[in-house]
């Protein structure tokens, strides 16, 4: 599988009154064509920012985003517009991601209009096809977002992302605001579409079970850094980083007597304005060593493409 998207040393700092929020700090990864990379972490870890950087909704402070070998981050207006046809995003909140004043047919057809695809009449036909593709009845064309439930709104968001036949879609927490029974429908739809349309996903989520379900590979983020990344089975069976271990242990599992060993982390996530020196996780890490507070661990291959950034793993 060739490499489709590659992030190299992505950095995003937001200036605030108290300093700079280190939202994303030197993050690199690559996504192969046709695969799903899951990006998981808790709120404020920079996973959504990373997703938005990839579609250039926000500008990176530094770093490169290569799409089929071409750097998106340095593209100018016209090139970027063309690139947008291939790179799309699905948002978390199906309530605020649709314009309340536009009927859903108009919302889905807007990207076609912007790129001048077809005539008005032809576009209506294309919208009908798109709606059927995502399991919406074309009869809903003139419905407004508030008239639909969360699941169908999210389908509208997916149809809009699909309208320009992209290759790569960033899914930013696409199911986390949906009911479980609806969430499952949307997850299955995303997987079906991936197969049928040969899509590549970056799947951003805080929900480990969902990420595991849909991803081929997973990267775990903490305070703006990737701390571990591996193929999905490797990450779950051979979890190396103490943070990933804690995250995994914290997921409540709907089964009886499945009380695993609990790792309750102390305290909360430190401020991203002044991240701790050394390993950013050392303030909460149950396995910290002296070196962790002073030296930052690098993301190193622990074998078979299983990357981890932890001094403990390499016995330094």
């Amino acid at each position: 599988m060739p490499e489709l998207v590659k992030a190299e040393n992505l950095v995003k700092h937001f200036p605030v009154a108290a300093g700079r929020v280190h939202a994303v700090d030197d993050v690199s990864f690559s996504i192969m064509e046709g695969e799903t990379l899951g990006l998981v972490g808790e709120s404020g870890c920079g996973k959504s920012t990373t997703g938005r950087l990839l579609v250039r909704l926000i500008e990176a402070t530094s770093g490169r985003i290569l799409y089929r070998g071409r750097d998106i981050a340095s593209m100018n207006g016209r090139e970027l517009r063309q690139a947008r046809r291939q790179v799309q995003i699905i948002f978390q909140d199906p309530f605020s991601s649709l314009d309340p004043r536009k009927c859903i047919g108009e919302t889905i057809g807007k990207p076609l209009e912007i790129f001048g695809v077809g005539s008005g009449r032809e576009r209506e036909g294309m919208v009908d096809v798109l709606m059927e593709k995502v399991g919406l009845s074309p009869r809903l064309y003139y419905k407004y977002p508030h008239e639909l439930d969360g699941g169908r709104r999210q389908r509208v968001g997916i149809a809009r992302a699909l309208s320009l036949s992209p290759d790569f879609i960033v899914c930013d927490e696409p199911v986390s605001s949906l009911d479980v029974s609806i969430q499952a429908q949307i997850l299955n739809l995303l997987q079906e579409l991936q197969e049928r349309e040969k899509l590549t996903y970056l799947f951003v989520s805080h929900d480990l079970s969902v990420v595991k379900h849909i991803s081929n590979r997973i990267a775990v983020m903490y305070l703006g850094k990737i701390v571990e990344s591996a193929s999905s089975p490797d990450l779950f069976h051979d979890t190396l980083h103490p943070y990933s271990q804690a995250l995994l242990a914290a997921v409540p599992i709907p089964k009886l007597n499945r009380r695993r060993e609990r790792i309750i982390l102390e305290g909360g996530v430190p401020s991203p304005i002044a991240p701790p020196p050394g390993c950013r996780f050392h303030t909460r890490c149950p396995q910290r060593m002296d070196i962790c507070a002073s030296e930052e661990p690098r993301l190193v291959d622990a074998g078979g493409g299983h990357l981890v950034a932890c001094h403990r793993v390499f016995g330094a």
Binding site: E42, S43, D149, G150, G151, R152, D179, V180, S181, I182, Q183, A184, Q185, L187, N188, H206, L208, S209, V210, K212, H213, I214, P233, F236, A246, L247, L248, A249, A250, V251, P252, I253, P254, K255, L256, R258, R262, I264, L265, G268, V269
Partner: protein, 327 residues
């Protein structure tokens, strides 16, 4: 002092809106024994929160109307109590924890003051005594008493929720209703808060109703489970019964919807169709349009609740003459 602490029977609550009458809760009944935790599970619109608000006597009216039912709490029917009596119970003997800790705390008062006010409202305490007890409560939820004079915005989300828990526990209530208390929190923080709630519940010997959409959370903290769908409890039983031997097609469907984190390759089978329209609930069993095992009778008749060894289910499959096999 035997018998259940709380017994709800035949509770019906409707919201009268311009578009029509929404039956939010429909002939609901359950009981909760002392020291136990009941998980009230369901998706949005199932009527979980309305049930909680009915127990608290806080159904917004208008448009909400409690049409019928009894809520017997410790021998008293809460629905027949005058508002003055209810005020004495609310926050004192029954307290509630809401989903969003930021909106349930007053941003302009220090957290200590808010806890001590909750105490002073119900118990005859001197100011100094209330303050001392409030500081103690903070320590109980693992917040240093030194932070007594800090404001809610100075705390992280998880700590704020712990402050809310301290407030809820301050008067040592017999019943706590927690409405999605950890939904807004990150997993590692959720684990902390759930752990804390479990241990405090033991320590204070309170009963709890845990409202959640997350079956995982139910599995962590509850003794009993009631699964709600469209205003009714469709299945109820001990945690063991519901988790290992789910009967109702909706309950079974819910379990199949959740990706299994422990399986190599998880397959999820969604429940087809849309959430029911509250203004226009389907006839018969409200779940029948989405049910994979729908029969003719399901379209027309509301199933009766059937109970065996404390495991109740509301489904024609299990009524007499129905196909009792739950393959």
């Amino acid at each position: 002092m035997n018998g259940p602490l709380l017994e709800v029977s035949d509770l019906s609550v409707v919201y009268r809106t311009y578009e029509g009458t929404v039956a939010a809760v429909n002939g609901l009944g359950f009981s909760l024994h002392r020291g136990r935790t009941l998980g009230l599970v369901g998706e949005s619109g199932a009527g979980k929160t309305t049930t909680a608000l009915s127990i608290m006597g806080l159904v917004p009216s208008p448009p909400g109307v409690v049409e019928s039912g009894r809520i017997i709490f410790d021998g008293q029917d809460l629905l027949r109590l005058p508002e003055r009596e209810m005020k004495r119970i609310r926050g004192n003997r029954i307290s509630m924890i809401f989903q969003d800790p930021m909106t349930s705390l007053n941003p302009v008062l220090t957290v200590g003051l808010q806890i001590s006010e909750a105490l002073a409202a119900h118990q005859d305490l001197s100011e100094a005594e209330a303050e001392r007890r409030a500081a103690e409560m903070l320590e109980r939820v693992q917040i240093p008493a030194a932070r007594y004079r800090e404001y809610p915005h100075e705390f992280s989300g998880g700590m704020r929720q712990r402050v809310v828990i301290a407030m809820a526990l301050a008067c040592n209530p017999s019943l706590i209703i927690a409405d999605e208390p950890t939904t807004a929190l990150d997993v590692t923080i959720q684990a902390q808060v759930l752990e804390l709630m479990k241990s405090l519940k033991e320590e204070f010997a309170t009963s709890m109703i845990m409202i959640t959409h997350d079956l995982g959370v139910v599995g962590e903290v509850c003794d009993n489970v009631a699964v709600m769908y469209a205003g009714r409890i469709v299945e109820t039983g001990s945690l063991e019964q519901v988790f290992s031997d789910a009967l109702h097609p909706y309950t079974r469907g819910l379990f199949r919807c959740i990706p299994d984190i422990e399986e190599e390759l998880s397959v999820i089978r969604p429940i087809e169709g849309l959430m029911p329209e509250p203004l226009d609930l389907p006839s018969g069993c409200a779940f029948h349009p989405r049910c994979p095992r729908c029969m003719e009778i399901c379209r027309t008749r509301v199933p009766e609740a059937i109970e065996r060894d404390g495991h109740g289910v509301m489904c024609h499959l299990f009524s007499e003459g129905g196909g009792g096999d739950h393959a």
